[in-house]
């Protein structure tokens, strides 16, 4: 029986991953004892005889409630006799924390402690037997000293690793933890171990509930930390590890949580996943869905209205927009009427506006370049959404995306989130449902394009005689073949692109025309077209027309259809019409 007890104790002593994990256990006990400060200090005690039997003393002092004889006899020196089990205001539960001091194989462990007007000294020997005696001088809290064999090199190593261990486990501790190397003549006194509790990232948010404090922020390299009274229980960058089945929600959200609901497993390897853990998870999810997401919406809305947004602020806006689209569609839909989408001209628009534009036009315009052209597009009542500049693209875990794909992806993702919300057809039957689902399938994709790739500023001009004859002939041929335009005119391009188009199209001949085949023609309505009179192909056809009018006409008509990519099956009809209209000299 005694052998088994000794074995159990041995297992408990060595169960933790590092012998220095006793710091965590003792600081935990100190916090549970109501101490607001824990002072850790090391001193080197050289062997006075010079036999090389130097000693290292590790001190852990707290100012909590301390221990009286009853606690010493029935809890300190007895395993598994914690009175803290199930107490949500305490970190320790098992009554095994103190034995961890033996993992370092100390020569002795001295405890001085006081409570209720009793002051005691307990001395543990190497074999873990102990003696206790009353003290006559008052002692506050509990002061523990470990005496370890070790030379100066071991001391230096211990100083370094002690500080590192304390920072790992105690940097967010509710109690102020200090560390001091008293053998260092340059020491400037106790050094604080604590750091402010929070997380790095965008929209950093804190949420407090009774016994729980949550810090969250959006991050492209999120880490996750779980704490009780500020003592580290687990830290990881593996979202699966941290959140299991809830991991999707936190792939781009860094979280640190201090909670009375969280506790270590007996082996301290991880967080105990019990009912209380589920309560903590529910609070974290609620914090992400409410406060963090609201903060994101708020910051986006604030940045969306700033007229000239540049540099890091603009970059931040697009990062935030990318993050917004990564949020659950239900949340996005809830906020679909918030004006958070920057436009190049005019007020910010809402995701709902985006949805409406996309639904009507089948595409939306996004560009980083504000120009006369985008202003004209805007004046015509078509919104142009702000896109990001090179290097600013951001899309969560998928990494940076070069421009303007970042904003485009965001816009597309927003569209998808909003489009998936329409529940109408599911309540319909038969033919109506079929028709609506068909329409929805058509509208479930959206083109996100740069208006500069679509539109061209032009001067509608009066063609000279040769040009006019060719244009009229081509218009007649196309009409005869059933592929005519509402009007076929001539134009000169302003700011022509590198590859000048042969012609542009639009609902009518106007200063802003679309590059074929970009125009989305309204159903059952033929567009107007304006041929670029400066285009080399047109110039050649004009030159050919007097000699071989049918061929020139056919070539122009065919080129128009080819570029517009429509009605190509009418080729033979066009050829026939050309011959009929202009004779057979083709």
């Amino acid at each position: 029986m005694a052998v088994r007890a000794e074995q159990t104790l041995g297992n408990l002593v060595t169960q933790f991953s590092s012998a220095l994990d006793f710091y965590r256990e003792l600081v935990q006990n100190s916090i549970d004892a109501g101490s607001t400060h824990v002072d850790v200090w090391l001193e080197f005690l050289p062997d006075e005889k010079g036999d090389g039997a130097d000693t290292i003393a590790i001190h852990i002092d707290d100012y909590g409630e301390g221990m009286d004889e009853e606690i010493i006899d029935n809890q300190l020196t007895t395993l598994f006799s914690s009175t803290k089990e199930d107490d949500l205001t305490k970190i320790g539960k098992f009554g095994i924390g103190f034995v961890s001091v033996f993992a370092l194989r100390p020569k002795a462990v001295l405890i001085q402690t006081g409570r209720g007007g009793q002051w005691w000294e307990v001395l543990f020997y190497q074999d873990r037997s102990f003696s206790k005696s009353r003290l006559e001088v008052p002692v506050e809290g509990t002061q523990i000293t470990l005496f370890i064999e070790g030379d100066r090199a071991r001391y230096i190593e211990l100083v370094h690793s002690s500080k590192k261990t304390l920072k790992r486990w105690c940097r967010f501790s509710d109690a102020e933890v200090t560390f001091e190397d008293r053998a260092d003549p340059r020491s400037r006194g106790p050094e604080p171990i604590n750091a402010p509790f929070g997380v790095d990232g965008l929209c950093a948010t804190r949420v407090e509930h009774q016994g729980t404090e949550i810090a969250l922020a959006y991050s492209d390299e999120p880490t996750y930390g779980f704490f009780n009274n500020g003592l580290t229980l687990a830290e990881t960058s593996d979202v699966e590890d941290a959140f299991g089945k809830r991991s999707d929600r936190f792939e781009h959200i860094a979280v640190r949580v201090k909670s009375r609901y969280l506790e270590h497993t007996l082996s301290r390897e991880t967080v105990l996943k019990d009912q209380n853990y589920d309560k903590a998870m529910a609070l974290i999810e609620a914090a992400a869905d409410n406060q963090l997401f609201s903060r994101l919406v708020y910051e986006l809305t604030e940045l969306a209205v700033v007229e000239s947004l540049e540099g890091s602020k603009l970059s931040e806006y697009f990062k935030l927009l990318g993050l917004f689209t990564l949020e659950p569609p239900a949340l996005i839909r809830e906020h679909r009427r918030r004006p958070l989408l920057r436009t190049l001209h005019g007020k910010p628009l809402t995701p709902q506006d985006l949805h409406d534009v996309g639904h009507g036009e089948g595409r939306v315009f996004v560009t980083a370049r504000r120009s006369r052209l985008t202003a004209t597009v805007h004046e015509q009542g078509v919104p142009v959404f702000a896109g990001d500049l090179p290097g600013l693209g951001y899309y969560g875990k998928q990494g940076s995306v070069e421009t303007p794909a970042g904003a485009r992806l965001s816009i597309r993702a927003l569209w998808n989130a909003l489009s998936s919300s329409h529940s109408g057809p599911s309540r319909l039957f038969g033919g109506i449902r079929k028709a609506m689902m068909g329409q929805r399938a058509r509208m479930s994709t959206i083109e996100v394009v740069d208006p500069h790739d679509v539109y061209q500023h032009v001067d509608i001009c009066e063609p000279h005689d040769e040009q006019r004859r060719l244009l009229r002939a081509a218009a007649d041929v196309l009409s005869a073949a059933g592929a005519g335009y509402a009007k076929l005119g001539a134009c000169v391009l302003k700011d022509p692109p590198l590859q000048s188009p042969l012609f542009v199209i639009g609902p009518k001949l106007a200063p802003l025309m679309a590059l074929a085949p970009q125009l989305r023609a309204r159903r059952n309505r033929r567009p107007a077209a304006a041929v670029n009179v400066a285009h080399s192909q047109f110039e050649r056809l004009v030159a050919l027309f007097p000699r071989r009018p049918a061929l020139a006409t056919y070539c122009l008509a065919k080129a128009l259809l080819l570029q517009e990519d429509r009605l190509l099956h009418l080729d033979s009809k066009i050829m026939a019409a050309s011959k009929k209209e202009l004779g057979s000299n083709a």
Binding site: G34, H37, E65
Partner: protein, 342 residues
């Protein structure tokens, strides 16, 4: 008619001296959670110093009964803290005020600039609440339909000292219709009845609070701890001998006292280790004393009183003598004004 609180106004440099010593003393005291939060107190007192308020206020009024700032001073910082965001929004930007006040000593813009700095510094401060109650659920025992709570109540007492009551008690669900503590899921709260009850007890001993709470139906009290910050002693005050004489010799001496008064089931034996306290039993009439003896036997609690001191080094022997004279053995820590963490 309201009785006038005895107070002394400390002018510069004495007010800065006081702030320095009070903060240093609080830092050195290493107060546990059974006392009001020393960090908040220290931050609060620091805001009363000229170095912080930049001369916007005249002097510092100290309550001569407690050696702590008067209620008016504590409350003034609190209200400034509350209005700081609004005040900052109203004041012009620093650059504007610097420009306007340049070369015009004592101008309104100069004062506005000081105010802006003052409110800005206040914004980030966490201060001591002058009356605050918190209830935390410790555990629930469904089989006994009982919930265990830890209650904390901080208050600036009418006598000018700062008090924290920590109470561990349990409440049976059968008594929840007359509850003093509420429980909604895991969220614990307090009733107004409890708050007003504890509020009244703050000038009394932990023992009396224990006895009063223990008679409430459905409530079992485990412990009542009263942690007290104050009085602080220095030469402007009327202080007990032999400190009085020592302060004549060392007018810059300073002593902070921190009392702990505990009535609890887990106290091993009754003991009074507070050289400044007069045990409740000694103040009571013989009949009342008997009644409290009966309460001790009925509820099974014992009482322990203690006090620790933080003193400037020259006053340590004197504090030592005070304790010896009272037959107590107390922790006496040494503080230095310059040791105050900033």
């Amino acid at each position: 008619m309201k009785a006038r609180i005895p107070a002394v106004r400390l002018e510069e440099p004495r007010s800065s001296w006081y702030v320095d010593w009070a903060c240093s003393t609080l830092g050195r005291a290493r107060l546990s959670r059974q006392y009001p939060d020393a960090r908040l107190l220290s931050a609060h007192i620091e805001c009363l110093g000229r170095e912080f308020h930049l001369g916007l206020y005249d002097g510092l009024d100290v309550d001569l009964r407690s050696g702590l700032p008067t209620y008016k001073e504590w409350a003034r910082v609190q209200s400034d803290h509350q209005i700081a965001p609004e005040a900052l929004a109203r004041l012009p930007d620093v650059d504007v005020l610097v420009e306007r006040s340049r070369g015009r000593e004592g101008s309104i813009h100069g004062k506005q600039l000081l105010k802006r700095h003052y409110y800005q510094s206040l914004l980030g401060k966490k201060l001591q609440s002058l009356s605050h109650m918190e209830v935390a659920l410790r555990r629930v025992e469904p089989e006994h339909r009982t919930a265990y709570f830890h209650i904390i109540f901080d208050k600036l007492d009418a006598t000018g000292i700062l008090v924290r009551y920590s109470i561990d008690l349990s409440q049976r669900s059968a008594a929840f219709d007359r509850a003093i503590v509420t429980l909604d899921d895991d969220e614990a709260g307090h009733t107004e009845a409890l708050r007003s009850m504890i509020f009244r007890f703050t000038s009394l001993d932990a023992e009396m609070t224990f006895a009063k709470l223990a008679v409430i139906e459905g409530v079992d009290v485990e412990r009542v701890v009263k942690g007290v910050v104050g009085p602080f002693f220095f030469s402007d005050m009327d202080v007990p001998d032999p400190l009085q004489q020592a302060l004549v010799e060392y007018p810059d001496g300073f002593v902070g006292t921190f009392a702990l008064d505990m009535a609890a089931l887990d106290v091993a034996s009754d003991r009074d280790n507070d050289p400044l306290s007069t045990a409740l039993a000694e103040r009571l009439s013989p009949e009342a004393r008997e009644e409290y003896q009966r309460a001790r036997s009925r509820f099974g609690y014992k009482v322990f009183k203690d006090r620790k001191f933080v003193a400037s080094s020259e006053l340590r022997p004197c504090v030592d003598a005070l304790c010896r004279g009272a037959g107590t053995r107390n922790l006496i820590l040494i503080a230095a004004a310059s040791a105050r963490p900033r």
